[in-house]
């Protein structure tokens, strides 16, 4: 280590090893997440534990390669057992995953505990495999991991197109003659290797988080598989590095949990704020919709009031308006402020009145509402007392093309099922009747 290397930064060998772990796990994780096979990685990681113990016990050596081979051997055995359980027994896949995971983990813990109680093995550090401890990664480990990680990444890069097709539409993939089973086995095999690589860094128990966390986070930010994989790799590497730095600088913080916590924070942030898919945006869209609905409801109230008064811009006192829907003043005032700002309403005395633009908009809302009521009553034979509430919800969601289609479908009707006139839009090609609805007298 160079004298200039900052103390808070883990050794370069550790950073290299972690970068390999982050990149391989994240890219394999993308396919695991998209194929809904996230828990397969978890089971394979747990299945590796007995292999590590056995390899150490048989060879009495801690050579990284030997331990890795041991881990891989029982990992693959676990995968084979899963496959066999799934096809030969009637056990469902989730039950098979749970069984293989816990059984192998149990065997692994028994073996490791016994080994630890032997005096010469007390320094073995085999327990690092359970929670991960990156601090003990040497250049030997890093070189081995780089080699294996490259094998995984190159295999994925070469079969990217096939894996993508298999993940999106397996039946179509098979119809092209793609060997579906062999490709699935290849992905499972690569996952075994990827999981083995991360064992030392994050440990058996938490490996799955590094597999699916970065991939699930990346999915939130993009609609492209290639971008998703790039992002996932970036997330994977950055969370392993940040976790390792945290583990290095804080006392008694194992690397695995630190890395997993960083990855989880990334995931939570992505789920909350990613544009488009994030919950925050979802909330904003819902709030906007609720405000639109409130505004359209008030417009409809004004419209009915105008119908009764014979004046489509007749002012309406605030108290009467609030009464219509049992609304309280604060939300009503906010809605009215909104309408005034959009130039659809203006204050008048102790209440408000619609502007000409507001009256047109109110007619549009009422038109959707009454056409939909008529459609429900006529086509679905719903009783009259059922149609108002349905229309009340639907009028806010109907796009103008559908309203036009409804109108044509119903034969350009003039009244709704309650006998109220259906307003026509100013731009509509029926000049003689164009004003009929909007100036019609109350019904």
């Amino acid at each position: 280590m160079s004298a200039f290397w900052p103390v808070w930064l883990p050794d370069p060998s550790i950073l290299l090893a972690l970068a390999v772990v982050g990149a391989t796990s994240a890219s394999l994780g993308c396919f695991a997440v998209l194929r809904r096979q996230s828990l397969l990685g978890d089971t394979l990681a747990h299945a590796a534990l007995p292999g590590i113990g056995l390899a150490f016990w048989l060879t009495e050596a801690k050579s990284p390669l030997v331990l890795l081979l041991g881990a891989m051997a029982t990992g693959l055995l676990g995968a084979a057992l899963l496959f066999a359980l799934k096809h030969a027994s009637r056990l469902k896949e989730d039950a098979a995953l749970g069984l293989v995971l816990s059984t192998f983990f149990g065997v692994g813990i028994v073996i490791l505990t016994r080994l630890q109680n032997e005096p010469e093995a007390s320094q073995s550090g085999l327990d690092h495999f359970i929670y991960g401890q990156a601090a003990y990664l040497t250049w030997d480990h890093a070189r081995l991991m780089l080699g294996l990680g490259m094998v995984v990444l190159v295999c994925l890069a070469l079969t990217y197109k096939e894996c993508k097709l298999l993940s999106f539409d397996p039946a179509f993939a098979a119809s092209l003659g793609l060997p579906r089973r062999r490709l699935e086995a290849l992905l499972a095999g690569l996952t075994v290797v990827g999981v083995m690589l991360s064992l030392r860094a994050v440990g058996v128990v938490l490996t799955v988080a590094l597999l699916i966390g970065p991939a699930a986070a990346a999915r939130q930010w993009t609609q492209r598989l290639s971008t998703m994989m790039g992002l996932a790799i970036a997330f994977g590497i950055s969370s392993s590095w940040l976790g390792a730095i945290w583990s290095q600088t804080a006392d008694a913080t194992p690397t695995g949990p630190a890395i997993v916590l960083v990855a989880s924070v990334l995931l939570v942030v992505s789920i909350l704020v990613a544009p488009g898919r994030g919950l925050w945006w979802h909330y904003l869209r819902l709030r906007q919709h609720r405000r639109d609905v409130a505004a359209e409801n008030v417009l409809a109230d004004f419209y009915r009031h105008g119908e009764r008064q014979g004046d489509r811009t007749a002012p309406m006192p605030a108290a009467e308006l609030a009464d219509q829907r049992g609304l309280r003043f604060p939300p009503l005032e906010r809605t009215m402020r909104d309408l005034c700002r959009r130039g659809l309403a203006e204050s008048a005395g102790d209440g408000w009145r619609l502007t000409e633009a507001g009256a047109d908009e109110a007619a549009r809302v009422m038109r959707s509402h009454r056409l939909w009521e008529l459609y429900l009553a006529r086509r679905l034979d719903l009783p009259l007392d059922h149609v108002h509430r349905d229309a009340e919800e639907m009028e806010h969601a109907l796009p103008s093309e559908i309203v036009a289609e409804l109108d044509a479908h119903l034969g350009h009707p003039r009244v709704d099922p309650h006998g109220h006139p259906i307003p026509r839009l100013a731009a509509e090609p029926r000049p003689t009747e164009a004003k009929e609805g909007s100036t019609g007298h109350g019904s």
């Binding site: 070469l158 197109k161 539409d169 098979a174 119809s175 092209l176």
Partner: protein, 268 residues
């Protein structure tokens, strides 16, 4: 089959698809039983039958996607492996996750994967072809759209465009008209006729009995076993429909299920 016997001497071309003594079972549920059918080339062929009649399974069996218990399938009088690149499969639209991170153009490009083979990525030539296929389906403007943002009809058109990109001779469609809007339905019908005019064969699982005579030339009536197959005007009649949709097959399916359960050691 009477109809295939009369067809054979008239047309020199072998059947586009020939299925012989085909039996398929999923676990204990038999889904196809001793099916024999020879589908002529250059026709629009509907597969019709009630729910659970094995219509989709017949398509999958033709494509080698499900293991055959007995029987064989030949494409243009050759083994499936030799003719695979001449077949295009359009699975049910609902069989895939439309939230997958990919665009419409990308899905259509998947139609070129079979020809590209391993390791090769689609290039400009494939992209041009995919764009033309989207154009043919009337959705060229949606090429870059994420697939979850497409309507049901648009998703179906993407699937058809992907099949067009395969440049196949025979198209196997699983319910292409299911859940699509009127415009898409017209587009699909038009596409079917174009394909037939180019001498290609279309086999489609179809649900709407009313439109069978209008959309198709040939029909396969299926309910576990083959009820009838032949030109629409010959076999699409009340009697055949009655035996396809009638309940008299219950005994056959129960007997078959009992036999399979024994054979697989599930009951003593």
């Amino acid at each position: 089959m009477a109809s295939s016997a009369t067809l054979a001497p008239l047309t020199a071309a072998p059947p586009a698809i020939e299925v012989h003594d085909l039996t398929v079972a999923y676990h204990t549920q038999p889904v196809l039983w001793d099916v024999d059918v020879a589908m002529p080339p250059g026709k629009l062929i509907a597969i019709v039958g009630p729910n659970g009649a094995g219509k989709s399974t017949l398509l999958k069996a033709i494509l080698g996607l499900v293991p055959l218990t007995t029987g064989w399938v030949r494409i243009d009088d050759q083994a499936l492996a030799a003719r695979r690149q001449t077949l295009a499969y359009i699975p049910q639209r609902t069989s895939v996750d439309w939230d997958f991170p990919t665009s419409a153009l990308d899905v259509v490009l998947m139609g070129t994967y079979g020809r590209l083979g391993w390791f090769r990525r689609p290039g400009q030539r494939e992209r041009d072809l995919a764009c033309r296929c989207l154009e043919q389906m009337g959705i060229a403007d949606l090429a870059q759209r994420q697939i979850s943002q497409l309507s049901g009809g648009q998703q179906q058109r993407v699937f058809l465009a992907r099949a067009l990109a395969q440049e196949a001779r025979t198209y196997l469609m699983d319910e292409p008209f299911a859940g699509v809007d009127a415009t898409t339905e017209r587009t699909i019908v038009e596409l079917l006729r174009q394909l037939r005019d180019q001498g290609r064969t279309v086999v489609a699982v179809h649900h709407d009995l009313q439109t069978v005579p209008e959309y198709f030339d040939w029909v396969v009536l299926l309910n576990l076993r083959l009820v009838a197959a032949g030109p629409v005007e010959e076999v699409f009649n009340t009697e055949n429909l009655h035996s396809t949709y009638g309940g008299q097959l219950k005994i056959l399916s129960q007997a078959a299920a009992a036999l399979l359960a024994k054979q697989q050691g599930l009951v003593s």
